[in-house]
């Protein structure tokens, strides 16, 4: 017993501040949030503890999922995630593939591709708001104007200012910002393919295309999984980009994170918490299997 304490005491002590902080700020608060989402805490007086709240179980969730407005937010979220994910994966992968082999100037290109990651969504929102201006014809600015100048008038469109698919336009800046990161992940994956595997394939007379297909790509699967998980969870959390390009009151670009902000602004804590929990559920569906699989890998 004493020896065990001596052995495991110090590491546990070292890690305990972090454990307590994460325990409280993540797990305790999730539970507390769940409770709030099951109360009728919809008014300022309740939020400030001047009036009592009562427990209403799943009432808020039922009302949310029934409301066409929230359904629209969910649709937007799905569409946004799909476009963002597919776009960032394709662009990031192609860039990594192009820069994987040594190339004069390769490092410069890597830096250029990666740098949008350094910019905040709020700052890039400023320029993308202008680029994605919905005006067409004579008063067009931004990308629509650029299309006119290069004679691609057919490409002119209202961007985000369209109720069903408008949100997909907001995924363009998201792709712009994070493709570089996906590229870096894939580059790391490419580098991770052992040289002797490549050598062996070359000895067998594989063409470079075959080499990619049968040797390298299969090795990239875990990287792809990681990249998908990272981008998808970012997409589900998206808030500041949408806030800075559109406005919170615009129906076209509503997503649950924006709804949550609006609920909070009118002291409707119960619904704000419920929306938060819905987002958590989505992310859990995506992340928990991944984490379990990772955990198994580690302990195998």
């Amino acid at each position: 017993m004493r020896s065990r304490v001596r052995r495991y005491g110090p590491p546990l002590l070292l890690i305990s501040p972090s454990l307590v902080l994460v325990g409280v700020f993540v797990y305790v608060l999730i539970a507390r949030n769940l409770w709030t989402s099951m109360t009728d805490n919809h008014t300022a007086a309740q939020a400030n503890g001047r009036k009592d709240v009562s427990f209403v179980f799943l009432e808020n969730y039922v009302a949310l999922f029934k409301s066409p407005q929230f359904q629209h937010s969910l649709w937007n979220l799905v569409l946004f995630t799909a476009v963002f994910l597919v776009g960032a994966m394709i662009v990031g992968f192609v860039w990594a593939w192009l820069l994987e082999r040594p190339l004069p100037g390769g490092r410069v290109f890597q830096t250029v591709y990666l740098f949008p990651m350094a910019i905040s969504f709020v700052a890039s929102g400023v320029v993308w708001r202008w680029l994605l201006n919905s005006n067409q014809g004579d008063s067009a600015t931004g990308l629509n104007r650029l299309f006119q100048m290069v004679g691609l008038d057919v490409l002119e469109n209202p961007w985000w200012n369209q109720v069903t698919f408008g949100i997909a336009a907001i995924a363009i800046p998201a792709i712009w910002q994070l493709s570089g990161y996906v590229m870096a992940l894939f580059l790391a994956g490419f580098r991770g393919v052992p040289d002797d595997l490549r050598e062996a394939a070359r000895m067998d007379g594989a063409s470079s295309l075959q080499m990619y297909r049968h040797v390298i790509f299969p090795q990239l699967t875990p990287v792809l999984m990681s990249a998908i998980v990272i981008i998808a969870h970012m997409s589900l959390k998206s808030f500041d980009l949408i806030m800075s390009i559109s406005k919170p009151a615009n129906y076209q670009t509503k997503v649950p994170a924006v709804d949550m902000y609006v609920f909070k602004s009118s002291f409707d804590y119960a619904n704000a918490a419920a929306v938060g929990t819905v987002l958590l559920a989505f992310i859990a569906i995506l992340i928990v299997p991944y984490l379990i699989q990772q955990h198994r890998e580690r302990t195998r």
Partner: protein, 303 residues
Amino acid sequence: MNTTTSAPPSAAPLGESSPLASRGRGAPGTRPTPVGRTLRYLVILLGVLFVLIPVYVLVITSFKTGGDASPARAWALPHTWTFENWQRAWTALAPALGRSLSLVIPSTIISSVLGCLNGFVLSRWRFPGADIVFTLILFGMFLPYQAVMIPLLQLVLATEIPNGIPSLILLHVVFGIPITTLIFRNYFETIPHELIEAATVDGAGMLRTFSSVALPIAIPGFVVVGIWQFTSAWNDFLFAVFFSTPRNGPVTLALNNLANGALLTDYGVSMAGALLASLPTLVVYVLLSRYFIAGLMSGSVKG
């Protein structure tokens, strides 16, 4: 216990494939054909164009006067270059830039040190259940903050930490722990055992081993974590919007205010402001991106 020291990362954990931990160097290239190479450059340049178009707009618009802002001249260079927008943006954002620095530097340092401790313990000085603990911490990395925001507001109020930068430092430290722990854990996984073992054989206790052996070799890890935390704290908007005001909050909030608050949407000032607000992170990237990418790729800074 320990997985991936020799096997290829066939199903590597997150960090193993990301960043820090893949081993091996670039593959010897296959001999390229001239046509293939030209095509490759062409596609690369297309990508560069996609990345740089918004930058072009930001830069030229920030030097334009109001009259230049007509749609017809949307893509043209300024008639007359003016610094006025930059001056106005600087006046509006300077205090917030200072506050952002006072937020980002301490929170980066504190969360990096905590992450380094955790990573070291979880990879090199294990205890029963360490893997479960790691997984539970890792989940925090993916947590949508909306799912804890309401009780978090109430908790931070209860702790009576002042609204604004002090609250934000606490939040960035706490919610930075998962990612910093992950990166350091994976980094320490790549350090040869012998180094650490040698120290413990000497009879050095854990703290001594940590400070004299682990910390010095963790420098590359610190670079990657530092860059990561610096940019994510600098660019945060969600916490800023809930826990501070333009009066006491970071630059993202002030910029959002500037861009949405002008009497007429004044793109010149907004874009100068956006550039101004991005300069620190851009400088960090441009100066350190070599280390960042190298760190992502190999977990050691070979440059």
